[in-house]
């Protein structure tokens, strides 16, 4: 096929049009005579019109062809698609919330093991972790991670209690942002905002490009080094769908983690959210997290 000749066609047509657009150019370069294969103005006009007609018809025809598979594969999809940025497309679906009460966390790390057992998280990686913020009397603030086996068994050196102004633990897990940056960057639609508003990873579809890991401002997503696809806290979606509590909530011995339906005013979480002063992480980013915290200071991000 002489594909590479094709561009010549429209170009010559354009140049012909350009040359005579101002009118009055009787025969262009041939006006001085001597060019025997003169293209009369009339003929050039006609062929141009014919060319445009045919070209338009063919182009539209080809375009409609490429549209066809879209209509075959996903016509229901476009009409039933979720609103931009996820959210709750179906108002009747339950709405869940997560509350972390940092004033109750004792840093025992029971939630960490529970999560690892429940979700098969490989060693050295975590869907949830607990940070400790230590405010010293001299103004320093130090942050460290609670070891999964607990501080006592780990034998890590501890700060002197008399130097400490205030110290507390901050469990971290997926914030389940309503406007989730990790969801938006996925090139293969493996990031799912479920109808309940929970962000999930379709591990069969994920190609492991890692964009979402970069996109999450909270560092929640990671590349699972056993499966080589993205992984993240999903509030134990499978448990929640069976009306069970997420594993970390079930495991917490002090009630520092509270999970429940925020559309039910009688639920534990609704009552606590209604009375406690709560805040979210990195509010300035506008991601609208559903995980709320009690007792945060500005140092926590």
């Amino acid at each position: 096929m002489s594909l590479f000749e094709l561009p010549i066609l429209p170009m010559s047509a354009t140049s012909a049009a350009g040359g005579c657009a101002s009118g009055g150019c009787a025969t262009g370069g041939c006006a001085s005579g001597g060019c025997s294969t003169a293209r009369p103005d009339q003929a050039s006009e006609t062929s141009r019109r014919e060319f445009l007609k045919t070209a338009t018809t063919l182009t539209l025809g080809a375009m409609s062809l490429t549209l066809l598979p879209g209509a075959m594969a996903g016509d229901e999809s476009s009409s039933a698609a979720a609103p931009p940025g996820g959210g709750h497309p179906d108002a009747k679906k339950p709405m869940y919330g997560f509350l972390i009460d940092t004033t109750k966390c004792i840093g025992a790390g029971k939630c960490l093991t529970a999560c690892r057992v429940e979700n098969g998280v490989p060693d050295g990686q975590a869907r949830t972790w607990v940070e400790r913020y230590v405010h010293f009397k001299d103004g320093r603030v130090e942050v460290d991670l609670v070891p999964e086996i607990g501080y006592a068994a780990s034998g890590e050196p501890q700060p002197e209690a008399e130097d400490v102004l205030r110290a507390y633990f901050v469990p971290k897990l997926c914030n389940q942002c309503v406007d989730a940056p990790c969801n938006q960057v996925c090139p293969v639609h493996a990031s799912i905002k479920s109808p309940e508003g929970i962000e999930l990873v379709d591990t069969d579809r994920c190609i492991g490009c890692g964009y979402c890991v970069q996109a999450c401002p909270y560092g929640i997503r990671y590349m699972n080094h056993e499966t080589n696809v993205a992984d993240k806290c999903n509030w134990c979606y499978h448990r929640v769908m069976r009306n069970e509590q997420p594993a970390c909530v079930e495991a917490c011995p002090t009630g520092a983690r509270v999970f429940g339906r925020i559309d039910d005013p009688d639920s534990e979480i609704s009552k606590r959210l209604a009375t406690l002063p709560t805040s979210v992480l990195k509010q300035h980013l506008g991601t609208i997290p559903l995980t709320r915290y009690v007792g945060l200071t500005d140092e926590v991000t």
Binding site: A43, A55, L58, G61, P69, A80, G150, S194, R205, E244
Partner: protein, 182 residues
């Protein structure tokens, strides 16, 4: 009036675009899952796939379904919110076997193992009477809430006159396991 001479170029272009369209159609059909977009911009059955994963962390209710006496022992104590799994292991295999045994009487449950003190291996079932499990929560650590029962181990054992402070079962000289009041 002369006709346009180079129509074959247009036909070639048309044929090329049609071929591209057809190939695109076939490729898209192959690559896009059938249920893509049914409930949102994702593979709809992925929700069911994820929801079908087993619940492995056992709530206390699962344990109490068989071990009723323990439920009564722990009811109303300070340790009511401590999960069985924290001291006895996550018992994933134990619960799975127990469920099979409920239907098939020929299956017997293996006895609980001795705990090797490693928290990472707590997926099995253990009978634990080990100070390490107590201290995994109660050893005083900077950052604990003021109202939590923190224990400065050395001081506490000295005050209470523990006979063998470093013995595994030191704590249980005074405290019960399920009802922990001294």
């Amino acid at each position: 009036m002369t006709s346009f001479n180079d129509t074959r170029h247009l036909w070639a272009l048309g044929a090329f675009l049609a071929a591209v369209g057809l190939v695109g159609m076939v490729v898209r059909r192959e690559l896009v899952p059938d249920d893509f977009g049914r409930t949102g911009p994702y593979r709809a059955s992925a929700l069911d796939d994820i929801a079908a994963r087993p619940s492995l962390f056992q709530a206390d209710a699962t344990c109490h379904a068989c071990h009723e006496s323990v439920e009564h022992e722990r009811a109303g104590t300070l340790h009511e919110a401590v999960r069985c799994a924290h001291c006895h292991g996550h018992a994933v295999e134990h619960v799975a076997t127990a469920r099979r045994a409920a239907e098939d009487p020929s299956i017997t449950l293996p006895p609980a193992a001795e705990w090797d003190g490693d928290f990472f291996t707590k997926v099995d079932l253990y009978v634990t009477k080990d100070r390490a499990t107590c201290l995994s929560c109660h050893a005083a650590v900077v950052g604990m809430p003021a109202d939590f029962k923190k224990i400065d181990v050395a001081l506490h054992l000295e005050e209470q006159g523990a006979s063998e402070p470093l013995a595994k079962e030191t704590c249980f000289e005074c405290h019960g396991g399920h009802d922990t009041a001294p």
